[in-house]
């Protein structure tokens, strides 16, 4: 399958099934079961887990599915399930059917696995775990080990992000048997998983960014004030041009990160993409709302289904400043005259 085919197939499926009504209903608490079945049957969730020769075969397909899904504000844990499936399959853990959640030991959350008799003891807490309440299984990455918790036996306190997507706080304290725990591959420790999460959020934002730009351009062509479409005014044109620049940069950053990951070099690229796309998200959301005027501030118009996701996703898996700090340290460690040679290879 080529990328264009995957993208087009996903785009068609989501355009048909992820209607604004379905998106709003999901936000009000209705799990979109039909949509989830369609995504599962289309094989989209396995895009990443498909190939094991190189660990990240299929990343381009996965990212295309995410871009298409986010254009329609698909209210499902596609990114999370893809990532959890990929991780589970890589280490030979048998993940259950259905939506999966993922928790990563990292800067914000602490998760610990200790040997206990012939099995393991898992303890810790994670904040804002995407879709935990709906998940059939939870994949936990604690640095060098990976655990599968199914069903998700955790204390769950429900929360949501700005877009109304489930972001639940969980507390874990349980025993796992040996079959539910595996060592993490060298290239998939907790930091790598976190980077993959960042790249996936960047891909989702890139899709939503394309969509909001198109909405704003279309609106500017339709909306008439002072006797002509507002898109004929230079003030509006210049703003939309700035938005287009950000959208273009976001798309390229994601594509470049996908290419880098394929070459085994996620350390710089995932963070750089998350930072760059996150910055674009804020700037573009600002502009497209201004262009839409008051109608874009209503719940009735679907613009908010996209912009609220942009505002949420830019905060998840590392805000821009967090990645800037990490990348800055990485760049500084090259030495001043090493920065260009470092970048020229990327």
């Amino acid at each position: 399958m080529t990328d264009v085919l995957v993208y087009d197939a996903a785009e068609r499926l989501f355009a048909d099934l992820a209607t604004p009504a379905v998106v709003n209903a999901a936000e009000a608490g209705t799990w979109p079961a039909d949509l989830w079945s369609a995504v599962t049957e289309a094989g989209f969730l396995d895009a990443l887990a498909g190939g094991f020769g190189a660990a990240l075969d299929g990343l381009g397909d996965a990212v295309d599915v995410l871009r298409a899904a986010s254009r329609h504000a698909v209210p499902l844990p596609i990114a999370e399930t893809m990532l959890a499936l990929w991780l589970a399959k890589r280490v030979g853990l048998a993940a259950p059917e259905g939506p999966l959640a993922l928790a990563v030991d990292g800067p914000e959350d602490h998760l610990e696995l200790r040997r206990a008799g012939s099995g393991w003891h898992l303890a810790g807490a994670a904040r804002g775990v995407p879709w935990a309440r709906h998940a059939h299984g939870l994949v936990v990455s604690t640095g060098v080990t990976i655990a599968l918790v199914t069903p998700v036996s955790a204390a769950i306190e429900q929360g949501k992000n700005l877009a109304g997507e489930p972001r639940d706080d969980i507390v874990l304290e349980l025993e796992l048997d040996a079959r539910s725990v595996a060592g993490a591959p060298k290239d998939a420790d907790a930091a790598d998983v976190y980077r993959m999460g960042a790249l996936f959020r960047a891909a989702q934002m890139a899709g939503a960014l394309e969509e909001v730009l198109q909405l704003a351009v279309t609106y500017a062509g339709d909306r008439v004030q002072f006797g002509r479409p507002i898109g004929k005014f230079q003030a509006i044109q210049q703003q939309l041009a700035l938005a287009a620049e950000q959208v273009a940069a976001a798309g390229v950053a994601v594509a470049a990160a996908v290419a880098a990951a394929g070459a085994g070099d996620l350390a710089f690229a995932a963070g750089a993409a998350k930072l760059r796309v996150g910055e674009a998200a804020g700037k573009v959301a600002d502009i497209v709302h201004q262009v839409h005027g008051a109608i874009g501030f209503t719940h009735e118009h679907r613009l908010h289904q996209l912009t609220r996701r942009l505002w949420s996703w830019r905060d998840e898996f590392g805000v821009e400043s967090a990645w800037a700090l990490e990348l800055g340290r990485l760049a500084a460690s090259q030495g001043a005259d090493g920065i260009w040679p470092f970048l020229a290879l990327r």
Binding site: L213, V217, Q237, Q238, A249, A253, A255, A324, G328, G335
Partner: protein, 383 residues
């Protein structure tokens, strides 16, 4: 409705990396031997000796056919060679316009005689071109120019005045756009391009000091200058189409976002390998932006190599890139308590001073930000 722009990913072939090594080795040796020193950017650091040295290595006119002095290498190889020179701050200004613009113009629209006459000397790094476009009353509105060429025996007579003509005082020829017939109805019609010999009788060149105190651009006055008929480039009256056909080459290269890269390097030197969080954040953010811009720019180079005309994509790269190169000094100055200063012994302060003083030109040269955003808006279907 699909998004109007497209950036295909590019992977640099191995030949590019071999070339990169060669260029780096040459730059290091040549710098050690005193041939050049880092300063300015593509439009300011001017050295005929350097241009001749890289011409001898085949790094000017790299993509041109061999029979005109070129190397028949790819756009991506040219990209790699030029980005290495630009980030190093090498003096490329003498040959820059001829290599990037005038040569390709002649290859595309020139006569065989013109190609054989002009291209080999350009490729050797011996013949320098500038571009006569802006006039006192015509900047962004190029079609309003008044410089005109009137038919006479054996050619044309050129009269008028150009301004902001970079390096006219150090160049041999100016590709000059002028009116050859009045703008009746279609103001883009009736414009033509000529190769003007800057030593011809009737040409006066007056350098204009810029705000940094340098003499880089000029006023060029044409007083009844005779242009032989064989110096007309392309079709009489097709000047507008010819000029605009080259915009993707002019607007998408690394020169549009690395003008202040050396300041970033000096900043990194100042903050050291274990910087405080605030400095590290600034460095990390700028590095991520640079990485993205370079991938965008490389993508355009790949599309140019494939024979496409990615004008919209080039406009996106240039405006975003110019904003980035203007942002570097604005950001790093906040982390340099003593500020910009010239003449001291501090490379960071000196580079900062140069960047701040030259920044206004970045978003003017090669198309202002307002014009670029207008082009982008047109690409989006708004105009």
């Amino acid at each position: 409705m699909a998004i109007a722009f497209r950036f295909d990913p590019v992977t640099l072939p191995p030949a590019c990396e071999a070339l990169r090594k060669e260029v780096r080795a040459f730059l290091a040796d040549a710098r050690a031997s005193g041939l050049w020193a880092p300063a300015g950017d593509f439009a300011t650091n001017h050295s005929p000796a350097f241009s001749r040295a890289i011409g001898a290595r085949g790094w000017i006119g790299m993509t041109w056919p061999k029979k005109y002095g070129g190397q028949e290498r790819s756009m991506l190889e040219r990209y790699v060679a030029t980005e290495e020179m630009l980030v190093a701050g090498a003096p490329v200004a003498a040959h820059w316009i001829a290599d990037r613009q005038s040569g390709p113009l002649l290859l595309r629209f020139g006569t065989e005689e013109q190609r054989l006459d002009f291209l080999p000397a350009i490729a050797r790094g011996e013949s320098y071109f500038c571009i006569g476009m802006s006039e006192p009353d015509s900047g962004s509105d190029l079609a309003s120019i008044r410089t005109r060429a009137d038919r006479t025996d054996g050619g044309f007579r050129l009269n008028g005045r150009k301004v902001w003509t970079s390096h006219a005082h150090r160049s041999h020829y100016a590709i000059t756009i002028c009116r050859t017939s009045p703008a009746d109805g279609d103001r883009h019609a009736g414009l033509s391009q000529f190769i003007v010999d800057l030593k011809a009788k009737g040409v006066t060149i007056r350098p204009i000091k810029n705000l940094a105190g340098n003499l880089d651009f000029n006023e060029v006055i044409f007083d009844d200058v005779f242009l032989p008929a064989n110096r007309l480039v392309g079709k009489e009256g097709a000047g507008w189409q010819q000029v605009t056909s080259e915009l993707a080459f002019e607007r998408s290269g690394p020169e549009r976002f690395v003008s202040t890269f050396r300041l970033l390097v000096e900043f990194a030197r100042r903050i050291g390998s274990n910087p405080d969080p605030r400095a590290a954040e600034a460095l990390g953010r700028l590095t991520a932006h640079l990485w993205t811009l370079r991938r965008m720019s490389l993508s355009v180079a790949g599309m140019l190599q494939a024979g496409e005309t990615p004008n919209l994509e080039a406009a996106l790269v240039k405006d975003l890139g110019n904003s980035f190169e203007r942002e570097i000094p604005e950001l790093v100055r906040l982390l340099a308590p003593r500020g910009a200063r010239s003449g001291g012994n501090d490379r960071f302060e000196e580079t900062l001073a140069e960047a701040v003083l030259h920044a206004p030109s970045f978003t003017l040269r090669g198309g202002t930000r307002e014009i670029l955003r207008g082009i982008i808006a047109r690409g989006l279907g708004l105009r």
